[in-house]
Amino acid sequence: MTFRENATITKATKLATGVFEIWFETKDIAKAAIPGQFISVYSNHGERLLPRPISICRIDGNLLRIVYRVVGAGTDEFSKMQVGEKLTIQGPLGNGYELDKIKAAIEAKGGNFKKALLFGGGIGVPPMLELAASLDIETDVVLGYRDSENFLKDEFEKVANVHIATDDGSVGFHGNVIDAAKDENLKADVIFACGPLPMLKGVKTFANELGIPAYISLEEKMACGIGACLACVCKTSKKDEHSQVNNARVCKEGPVFDAAEVEI
């Protein structure tokens, strides 16, 4: 079920330079959500009609948390909202990390589901948090940041083994998350990743090298966010059932895809 709510903001904080969090009190959305899903956030300004897709970072009863980077007018507007104010949101959207299904699929192919490796890069860090908290198997998380502003790190440390990589080398490994994982010789049965496209390409290759599956979160520009407009497609290796061409909808079949099944 998908819900549309005019949700009240219960917390709105700056986490790092240009990175903000909002906690919403929701009626139904939080309760229906799973890690890896996203919500559509609507502007209160009429010149911006399209929703902003933002991943779910944390679910706590009726509360839903998003963490986002200010990159344009919409996220700038959200960053100025205050506790008690309202935003229209819609969700939960997309497939998310359907852990039971994923586990079953892996075991069906003779693999294990005992040790997970999570990669989060930049603003791809937040969606990994609810996932890390939900996984009841051993979990390593490699978080990639630009610099020493390591937002959410403390919270990850409560639920997983955390490894940090930074672009400027100020904290942890100096370099990208894949090289950090190699450096620490991290091994796993399955990879989950969210981050910029070059990172996801690296994850796909890395998973191939290890011979394990990788579930990655893709991004694309969206209009409807619910699968109707065909704006947000990604190329799939096999013919997509809905489209009858090799185009899956990121907002519906995704945003989480088995890396082996998409062409990135």
């Binding site: 399209l50 065909l230 497609v233």
Partner: protein, 303 residues
């Protein structure tokens, strides 16, 4: 129960109210049915469908613009086989009319599609001769009156359902285009399709949509759309389906008063999936408040 009659009829078909959706913004209704009771719509107009599956354009396919958006989906569609097997049976579960939007790369493809739809349980066909994102031919039909007349004739020759010709606004004279469709035997016209637009991503120094240009839609285009509906209403004797930027009942009433019999909600669905229902309710409220017993009184009332 209200005393207002919102029913309209078009080409001999009765619609419970004048509200439908703009092709391509609502899929075949499945996704939106989670929000909208499709039984409450006058009709569902489906995304353009062709005789074979089309892959559409590369991404990014859309970009937001001030008060609107541009899209270059490129008419991705699963092809008529899947559409007839999956989407039509789904829609048949609802008490609403079905308008099927048809696209093609050539006159032959349009004719073939219309033939294959002839015995399908759908109410009307809308021929999209105006999609600006298809290069192979569609665009010419949509901007040259003689081509529009020719394809209208070809399609009418094989059609069993009434034919709506969907017009492009990217022309010097929309009235000439409508007259050509009328001469070709069209049963109705719908307008407007999208205005060709472009957005440049100044930071990446490239086009915001991969196709360079896209079709602009949304509230921003409404004044152009209302003007064109008015011009066409005064140029031909065909019923009109009006669209372009409708996001509430007031917008819909502008189209109706300018001469539209049906109105379609497009881009506004992306901003609020419940827009169609709000338009239906708002039309009823307006009529009640203003003592309008039958919405048909308002069609074309502004001269």
């Amino acid at each position: 129960m209200s005393n207002v009659n919102l029913g309209v009829s078009l080409c001999g078909i009765d619609f419970k109210n004048p509200v439908t959706v703009a092709s391509g913004t609502f899929g075949s209704g499945m996704e939106y049915s989670e929000f909208v009771d499709l039984n409450k719509l006058g009709a569902v107009t489906t995304k353009g469908v062709a005789i074979t599956p089309w892959a559409g354009n590369p991404t990014p396919r859309i970009a937001e613009t001030y008060g609107g958006m541009i899209n270059a989906i490129g008419l991705q569609n699963p092809g008529l086989d899947t559409f007839l097997e999956r989407d039509i049976p789904f829609l048949k579960n609802y008490d609403t009319k079905i308008i099927v939007n048809v696209c093609g790369h050539s006159e032959e493809e349009y004719v073939e599609a219309v033939k294959r739809l002839a015995d399908a349980p759908v109410d009307m066909l809308e021929i999209n001769i105006s999609c600006p994102n298809v290069k192979e031919g569609g665009i010419a039909f949509g901007t040259v009156p003689a081509s529009a007349e020719k394809i209208t004739k070809a399609v009418k020759a094989v059609a069993k359902q009434p034919i709506i010709m969907k017009l492009s606004p990217n022309v010097t004279s929309i009235a000439d285009m409508a007259r050509a469709c009328e001469a070709g035997g069209a049963d109705a016209v719908s307008l407007i399709n999208t205005l060709t637009g472009m957005k440049i991503d100044i930071n990446r120094r490239t086009f915001a949509v991969a196709n360079k240009t896209g079709g602009m839609s949304g509230p921003a285009v409404k004044p152009v759309a209302v003007r064109m509906v008015y011009e066409v209403a005064n140029a031909v004797n065909l019923p009109i389906i009006g669209m372009g930027g409708i996001r509430n009942a007031e917008d819909a009433l502008e189209f109706i008063m300018a001469g539209a019999t049906l109105v379609s909600v497009g881009t506004a669905n992306f901003n609020d999936p419940l827009t169609t229902i709000k338009v239906v309710e708002g039309l009823e409220a307006f009529c009640e408040k203003n003592g309008v017993k039958d919405i048909k009184e308002l069609i074309g009332c502004v001269k």
